[in-house]
Amino acid sequence: MNRSVVTAWFACALLSPVLAEAADPVLSPREQVAFFSSKVKPLLVKRCFKCHGGTKIKGGLHLDSRSGIMKGGDSGQAINLKRPLKSLLLEAVNYELEGYEMPPSGKLPAEQIAILARWVRMGLPVTPDFSGKIGNQPRSASPMVTPETKRFWSFQPVKRPAVPAVRDRRRVINSIDAFVQSRLDAAGLTPAAPVSRVALLRRASYDLTGLPPTPAEVEDFLADQSPRAFERVVDRLLDSPHYGERWARHWLDLVRYAETNSYERDGAKPFVWRYRDYVIRSLNADKPFDQFTREQLAGDELDTVTPETQIATGYYRLGIWQDEPVDREQELFEDLDDHVRTTGEVFLGLTVGCARCHEHKLDPISQRDYYRLLAFFRNIRRYGVRGRNTVESASITSIASEADRKKNQKLVVQHQQELKVIQREIREFLVTVKPLLKGGEVDDFKREKNRVPILKKKVPGKLPRAKFDAYVKLVARRDRLRKYKPPGLAVALVVKENGPTVPQSYVQIRGNAHARGEKVEPGFLEILSPPKPNIRPPAKGAKSSNRRRALAEWITTPSNPLTARVLANRLWQYHFGRGIVRSPNNFGLQGRPPTHPRLLDWLASELVDGGWKLKRMHRLIMLSATYRMSSAPSQAGLKADPTNNLFWRFDMRRLSAEEIRDSVLAVNGALNRGKMFGPSIYTIIPNEIKHGQSQPGSGWGNSPPAERNRRSIYVHVKRSLVVPMFETFDGADLDTSCPVRFTTTQPTQSLALLNGQFSNREAEVFARLVRGQAGKDRAKQVTLALSRATQRRPTEKEVRRGVALIEALEKQDKASPEQALKYFCLLTLNLNEFLYLD
């Protein structure tokens, strides 16, 4: 509903019976009370109490006492005594606000509405039994900002804790181990033994690059007997460009990265891949996280704005976008909510979004807090209004350099001049042939497409062939020029604001875009006792308000209690499979308490003191003895701590969807590791899946084989058409921030790896590679296939088992040697050992 409609509705209300009775006779107080008991109360009891009386109270609104009515509900004041007609109660019964039609089962008859209106105008006279305290309990049990809630651990500043003492120093490599072991000591547990070297290499390679180690890397590591061998591996992996490709995936999960808008059209987001490349590049360059954050939240408002910082603001353009909203104003607030929610969860680890319609029910975050935070984003232009042009205007900007611009300008001028010359030549020629035209030809000749056929008829009698040919050539050249314009300037998908002035922000009652409550100014969450935002006054003619910069600066202040903790927890989570806080997007009162609070604070301090650099943290974590533990179970551990709360061992994990796909391609040698960045690629999606689209195949292209075999991070992410492999193996939910991937085990996964197009096609490729390298010897084939899939040398027994299968397939099932080998290769891609890491 837009504003003009609201106005129109108010205009209608003026004609309704509500006002028509304004001339009612004035009643004495006694008569007023009688009016209440005879007319109003029965009405309330009959039509309202079911949801707003007694113990069942919807929307926090009690209609069973005057105090309850006056107090109002979650949506705010129900009664406006100064302007009775503006009372929410009356608007609701008059069905004036969409979503607030009361009672919802059907509009009250006009005379009943009039009774209520008259009663409100009288000032709500009631009988004594109705005035009381019924329903006067606190509206809800939402936690408030109090000294007590302020003391909650995650709202307290981070203090670097002392490194604890441990019983046995032999297993301590760095401080992390001391924190973990001191807890194990207390529980009487011993840490698991170090993991085998191959398993450690596999763990680290997948962890940092999302890929298995190559056979050469395994050999090198096994040959390196120095105590610093693993350190060298970690350094090599951190320097690998594949590091960024792997860790970008974690970040993209968090910021709900997808390349289309969802909804009916699910249109592609232009140039969104630059954001993905930005994340990969930032990680590979070890960009400090505070800078990374500032660039994404306010890259267009920084002192130095570069193409890179502009691309970073694509952060705001990754979400779903309704291009055909039922209610534009409401949709604007849906978009703003997406920014508040995502930013709150990703950077602060708080579910701020829950306070959109009412006070947060679980955390001391008020609805005011929500709208003060929203005020930082209030000036952002919607992704678009509808259609491609509006998106270009609201979300696309040029990122070309001055030099590029100049170079391009030259090309453009040159192109235009060439075109001009040719067009003139064509015109001149046409003038010379005009006299040759007869009758209807004169008219037909006006249409470009008729000219060549007409002129052809005149050759060679009236028109020399050479002249005709020259004309045809000219036209072809002109068409070519028209088609191949000089390449356009580089553009990016970015955030834009509506200039330096920001519309006033309000608390939107019940999250309704049309129901304004009190005014609010940008501000941070009260529970964190924050400073006032430092919003630099925007320069005259500035394109934005500088509000987001103020927000980004507060988020990245070292004294912010949440940012560093939340990030340190995520780093830990991605290395160990679970966070120290197991609810990584929720550090609130109902989030999971940290299993190792002091370790978390120590990591957070290290992170900030180390200049927010991630690679240093990876190194620290991975070189610890804790990271190098085996995942093998111990009786004592399983008994005392079955969920491994204390990290007495390393948890096994299944590969993620993307790792599975990339590993299949790595193992069979097809993976295109070299090509990074650029527009996304399309893998082959079975027709059965495309058939689920309203226009099968729409929005999905074809990529040539080499492109198709690039890493999963470069596969086009279409919200309504997810690559089945990714969906089946628990890829990230694309519409909201995904802090933890599920790991399900389903028969559809087995069917996909066993019968699916992808695995069968790639198994064939694998078989060709194996045959090429191992020759015809079955034992050699099996050995090679198994060692490529598991990165270790198979035992003799394992080789015999594989050979037996191949022989049986050939002899008993009459499969060709190629087929038999292919099926053995397919088997290796189905091994638990292939899919799980120790």
């Binding site: 995942s631 079955p642 096994m652 919200r719 088997l827």
Partner: protein, 490 residues
């Protein structure tokens, strides 16, 4: 990664589930479709990380909140939005008004309008059955079933735009990202047939609905709760067919060898139930290769039965086959089956913006006999009592013309008709009214949430209790405000 023991009580909204989710962190695991894990196997191997608690899978059959009236749902989804005033919502006062311009507030894809040109219905209405329900002659067969059916004439939805309205009808929200009705069933009740999915969607051969998979997604729930697409032609489920060149004996050999490798791998990791679950899932997949095609194979049905579903006519064969498959799936324990009538765009579905007559004649012909056959077949097999059949689209249509010329009607979410039958629904009833033009619901207004609440209620789930903890909140299908089931029809 290890599994946290799940409480044996169905702790839908209590701390148990919440704790479970967080407790396991990244390791929310379990074999879907538990079948293979029979008692013996479970007792032997599948124990939780503490070594004593029996491992349980998330899709195991769970107890409902109370005794259910229905055990299965078949949702006949009329994609595009059938016109209520041309099907079941008779408006005699519109007679003779064709072409007249009247004041009426409408809101569709063409925006908000305050007046419009009346398009009188192009069909004749008659009263049918004991209950005297009006039905237009679009549905000559179905009109014989009205005494088994409850009509909801006062449905309303939050959006008159297909994309968001479909999400609302399927997931209760106009924004994408929430689990669909069938996912809630899977989550709340699990599956009783280990060899078949619990939530099945069948699409119109002309194409899927807009937003595709968003309409059967599990949203923020794990993927094992999402729908499985089942096709009437070819291999019914993706990846069910053996790759060319592989026969069953070869596959068996391959699986036996794979199992030997996997068992060997598991020896030193016996505490990890995921590994056992994954081994088991291959056997389950193997079994599905035969059970699923059997369940969807219609050749064993008699000619009479096939005829009942309209398989003797070209027009009604696709939808009829799907209805018949739905019955077979329900017989085999599939919890929730959704069939789309209409797909793709424009007149390939019920979205009659151009020629109303041609559009609705076509889609009614395609579905009338199959739906009637389904109801009668369920009845004769004693399945009707326990099978809830739901019919309707994402919204209805306006009483007025969309364009200056023609009979096309724009979308209408202010009021439309749906119907429910079987599964403990009172037949021969109707609830609610729209105004004289059918432009909006005026009496006993119902919301999509009430419809969802009714479905859950009949399935033995308290709609205001069934919740899933996500992003700091106990989410419900019927939203934070909750919703009452439609008491008049249950």
């Amino acid at each position: 990664m290890t599994n946290q023991p799940i409480s044996s009580r169905p702790g839908f909204c209590g701390r148990t589930r919440r704790e479970f989710l967080w407790e396991t962190g990244a390791g929310f695991t379990g074999v879907a479709l538990s079948g293979l894990l029979d008692e013996g196997f479970l007792n032997q191997q599948a124990v939780a990380a503490d070594g004593t608690t029996r491992w349980q899978n998330p899709l195991r059959a769970k107890d409902p909140h109370f005794d259910p009236k229905a055990t299965n749902v078949i949702f006949l989804y009329m994609y595009g939005g059938p016109s209520h005033i041309d099907t079941f919502d008779y408006k005699p006062r519109m007679k003779g008004m064709d072409g007249k311009t009247v004041d009426v507030k409408t809101f569709g894809r063409g925006g908000r309008k305050n007046k419009g040109r009346i398009v009188e219905t192009r069909w004749n209405f008659k009263q049918h059955g004991q209950c005297g329900q009006w039905v237009s002659d679009l549905f000559p067969h179905f009109s014989t079933c009205v005494d088994d059916v409850a009509f909801l004439h006062s449905m309303t939805a939050d959006s008159p735009i297909h994309g968001s309205a479909m999400l609302m009808m399927n997931s209760g929200k106009i924004l994408s990202g929430s689990p669909c009705l069938g996912s809630w069933m899977n989550y709340g009740l699990g599956s009783v047939n280990e060899n078949l999915p619990g939530f099945v969607v069948m699409l119109d051969p002309r194409g899927g609905p807009i937003s595709g998979a968003k309409n059967w997604s599990a949203g923020y729930m794990p993927a094992n709760y999402q729908a499985t697409l089942v096709r009437a032609q070819g291999s019914p489920i993706l990846n069910l067919k053996l790759p060319s060149g592989l026969n069953q004996s070869m596959q068996r050999r391959l699986l036996d060898t794979l199992r030997a490798y996997n068992e060997q791998h598991r020896v030193k990791r016996s505490d990890n139930s995921d590994l056992a679950a994954r081994i088991a899932s291959y056997e389950l997949a193997y079994k599905m290769q035969t059970t699923a095609p059997e369940a969807t194979d219609l050749s064993s049905e008699t000619e009479a039965t096939q005829k009942m579903y309209g398989l003797d006519r070209k027009e009604s064969t696709p939808f009829g086959s799907q209805c018949l498959m739905a019955r077979r799936l329900v017989e085999r324990g599939v919890r929730f089956v959704q069939i789309y009538s209409g797909g793709n765009h424009n007149d390939a579905n019920w979205d009659a913006h151009g020629d109303l007559k041609r559009n609705h004649d076509m889609h009614a012909l395609e579905t009338d006999k199959p739906i009637t056959g389904l109801i009668n077949d369920l009845k004769q097999r004693g399945l009707f009592e326990k099978t809830l059949v739901v019919w309707g689209g994402e919204f209805g249509r306006q009483p007025t013309a969309e364009y200056a010329k023609g009979t096309g009607r724009d979308h209408n979410s202010y009021g439309f008709t749906m119907w429910m039958a079987g599964g403990g629904i009172k037949g021969g009833t109707s609830v609610g009214k729209t105004d004289e033009l059918g432009s909006r619901a005026v009496e006993d207004r119902l919301h999509v949430r009430n419809l969802h609440a009714t479905v859950l209620q009949q399935m033995g789930l308290d709609p205001n209790r069934l919740s899933y903890f996500f992003n700091g909140l106990d989410r419900k299908l019927v939203g934070v405000e909750g919703a009452e089931p439609i008491h008049q029809i249950i």
